[in-house]
């Protein structure tokens, strides 16, 4: 078992003919992901790494039975690509694109409310279920199957933690990057609920950072709904207020969204918060 992606995942790559789309299609295929289709409007009929390209997601779904989409479309067109995927009946949409306008994302999320689609991201590394499917841009080889579920707002920081876990012999059920933007399709709480219900996940790692209140909401949710051990790490204790720290969503505004508050909220409900990435693995090991 696992969450979100697995051996049944039939992936369509939106923006497959672009540099990034083509490059990662190769890597996802190498990892063993079932990439069944690509979409680039106007390039229908071409092939990329043996994957057929369609003009529209609708056509790709009808022809190949794709149920999951990954989006490498440039920022100005990405929100439209999300809506196209949802409208075509895609169930899980993973949006890698960084720099999508906030208003576009709010509109896309509103659009998704009337559909059955779930969006992961944008501005995220994607989702990987080690040994089954990689739907994202994370380095596949640092992952190994196992009992730890990971959910994170970050990219390379997650890889750092995953590597520490793997180095310690702690494999992962699924690792989910929910993205670093202020408006994202899936929150910590959404993923925590999935991990709680996933028999393959025995321990959960939550990697947060400054900005917003998603970690605080996660703390409340964990306190009332999660029975599995949760280990957390929050980046940005030294971040100054009012400055955007790389991620569009990583900003302390109006005194809200500091790492200290988030750590306090998590610790208040008994969640252990690591002081640095490697320590996450230590804390997870202690309770497995």
């Amino acid at each position: 078992m696992s969450i979100l992606v697995n051996r049944e995942t039939r992936l369509v790559v939106q923006g497959i003919t672009g540099n990034e789309g083509s490059f990662h299609t190769r890597l996802m295929l190498d990892y063993g992901t079932q990439v069944v289709a690509g979409v680039t409007p106007g390039k229908g009929g071409e092939w990329v790494h043996g994957v057929p390209v369609f003009d529209t997601v609708r056509e790709a779904v009808q022809t190949t039975g794709a149920n999951t989409s990954i989006i490498y479309v440039p920022a100005p067109f990405a929100a439209d690509a999300i809506m196209e995927a949802a409208d075509a009946g895609i169930e899980l949409i993973v949006c890698i694109t960084e720099g999508i306008p906030v208003l576009d994302m709010m509109r896309a999320c509103q659009f998704l409310e009337d559909t059955d689609a779930r969006l992961i991201g944008p501005n995220c590394p994607g989702v990987i279920t080690p040994g089954q499917a990689k739907v994202g841009i994370m380095p596949g080889h640092i992952h190994t199957p196992g009992p730890v579920g990971i959910v994170s707002r970050s990219g390379t920081l997650t890889y750092e933690v995953v590597k520490a876990l793997t180095d310690r012999g702690l494999g992962q059920s699924t690792a989910v990057g929910i993205g670093g933007d202020p408006i994202i399709g899936t929150s910590f709480v959404d993923v925590l609920r999935m991990f709680e219900n996933d028999p393959a996940t025995q321990s959960i790692v939550l990697i947060g950072e400054i900005g917003g209140t998603d970690e605080e909401q996660a703390a409340r949710f964990i306190a009332s709904e999660v029975s599995k051990p949760v280990t957390a790490f929050i980046a940005g204790r030294t971040a100054p207020p009012g400055q955007r720290m790389g991620h569009a969503g990583a900003i302390i505004e109006g005194g809200e969204g500091t790492a200290q508050e988030k750590i306090a909220a998590l610790e208040a409900v008994g969640i252990r918060v690591a002081r640095h990435p490697a320590e996450v693995a230590d804390l997870v090991a202690e309770r497995l």
């Binding site: 990219g155 750092e160 590597k163 917003g212 030294t238």
Partner: protein, 385 residues
């Protein structure tokens, strides 16, 4: 991108929102001229991208052109929270009966724009939210459908407005929504939204923050960027598409990925060091971008030690190494000690490339942070004889 008050008000006026008559000046003489044209008493306001201008003496009343010139002389060139004042806004003074608040922000949790109004304004809305939450009304707006008239009207009644104020309030709310949505703002705020003693509504102060990610479709707004308020490092970072934030420590950091960059800074802090900056080179940076990043750090005279932390993936370690070497070669000042931790894609090639250079290799992030902190404190001791 934050806009100055005068810029925000120009946008407001374009959407039919009522703002005081006024104009901007960069010299006391210009200020005198503006006041002369306006006639009557005016307010002279420092145009600077921070709050607390009033307390800092950046806002003054002047009863005529003479006083305006003097006020402008005092304000232009002053520093408010570290920011230099280059411009003042001179506006007709308004006789205020009540100060309200109206703003639209992005509600991250509900993934919607939210309009916030209060019958009490003129103070920071966060303060009010903390101290008197019952004074605040929130209206989530469907971003695909927009703000409906009746929703805006209902807000007016929540605030206890009546009579002749309902229609203008509703029009201002709709106008502010258009300001927000048509300019891709992430914040559009009128504070205070005043009721004058004659019973008119007017936007006495305004604040707009634009979504940097959406500026590509608002090229005319991009030109409102305040280049005078930008440091040389900020300018270079923006041009090289790097995320850079100056901090007050002495360990310069360069990392790929925002979360990892923050975690690196935190670790420096954990071991007793102080990061000199946040710098994220992003994903898949090529050598020239890495070089630009190192140039920015090298130009920072506060930096005593440099800490490079790269978790390779899309970003290749050999590219990073090449960028570092190029920047070191071009450096006009001595390069401080540099701790480099390279892991992941092409890490071997990267290390080999750096073998000849005078850098300290670390294999783990912890080791790298520790070494950097040790070196920095050593440097400090060396400098204090």
């Amino acid at each position: 991108m934050k806009l100055h008050e005068y810029q925000s008000k120009r946008i407001f006026a374009r959407y039919g929102l009522p703002v005081p008559q006024g104009n901007v000046a960069t010299t006391p003489a210009e200020a005198r001229q503006v006041a002369h044209l306006l006639g009557g008493p005016v307010v002279v306001k420092a145009q600077v991208l921070t709050g607390g201008r009033g307390k800092a003496g950046g806002i003054k009343l002047a009863k005529d052109a003479e006083e305006t010139e003097e006020a402008a002389r005092q304000i232009i060139g002053m520093f408010i929270k570290g920011l230099k004042v280059y411009k003042v806004l001179i506006e007709q003074a308004t006789d205020i009966a009540q100060e309200m608040y109206m703003g639209i922000v992005v509600d991250r949790t509900h993934r919607k724009p939210i309009m916030i109004v209060s019958a009490q304004g003129g103070i920071e809305i966060e303060e009010l939210a903390k101290n008197r939450p019952e004074m605040i009304f929130r209206l989530p707006i469907d971003p695909l459908r927009g703000l409906m008239d009746y929703q805006a009207r209902n807000l007016a009644f929540e605030l206890g407005l009546h009579g002749g104020l309902i229609r203008p309030f509703t029009a201002i709310a709709r106008g502010l929504w258009r300001v927000f949505v048509e300019n891709d703002a992430t914040l559009a705020e009128i504070n205070p939204l005043a009721i004058t003693s004659e019973g008119q509504l007017i936007a006495l102060d305004g604040k707009i923050t634009l979504d940097d990610n959406a500026l590509f479709r608002h090229l005319e707004l991009n030109e409102m960027r305040d280049l005078q308020g930008e440091t040389e490092a900020q300018r270079q970072a923006r041009q090289a598409d790097l995320s850079y934030v100056k901090l007050d420590g002495d360990i310069g950091c360069m990392v790929n990925g925002a979360g990892l960059a923050m975690a690196t800074m935190d670790l420096v802090d954990l071991y007793g060091g102080r990061p000199a900056n946040f710098l994220d080179i992003g994903g898949g940076a090529r050598a020239n971008k890495v070089a630009a990043a190192l140039h920015i750090i090298l130009a920072d005279s506060d930096v005593k030690v440099i800490l490079i932390n790269i978790f390779g993936g899309i970003t290749r370690c050999d590219e990073v190494a090449r960028g570092l070497l190029a920047a070191m070669e071009e450096a006009s000042t001595p390069v401080p000690p540099m701790v480099v931790r390279l892991v992941g894609a092409n890490e071997e090639q990267g290390r080999q490339l750096l073998a000849a250079a005078n850098v300290i290799n670390a294999t783990s992030l912890i080791e790298a942070a520790q070494k950097a902190v040790e070196l920095a404190s050593g440097q400090s001791q060396m400098q204090r004889p």
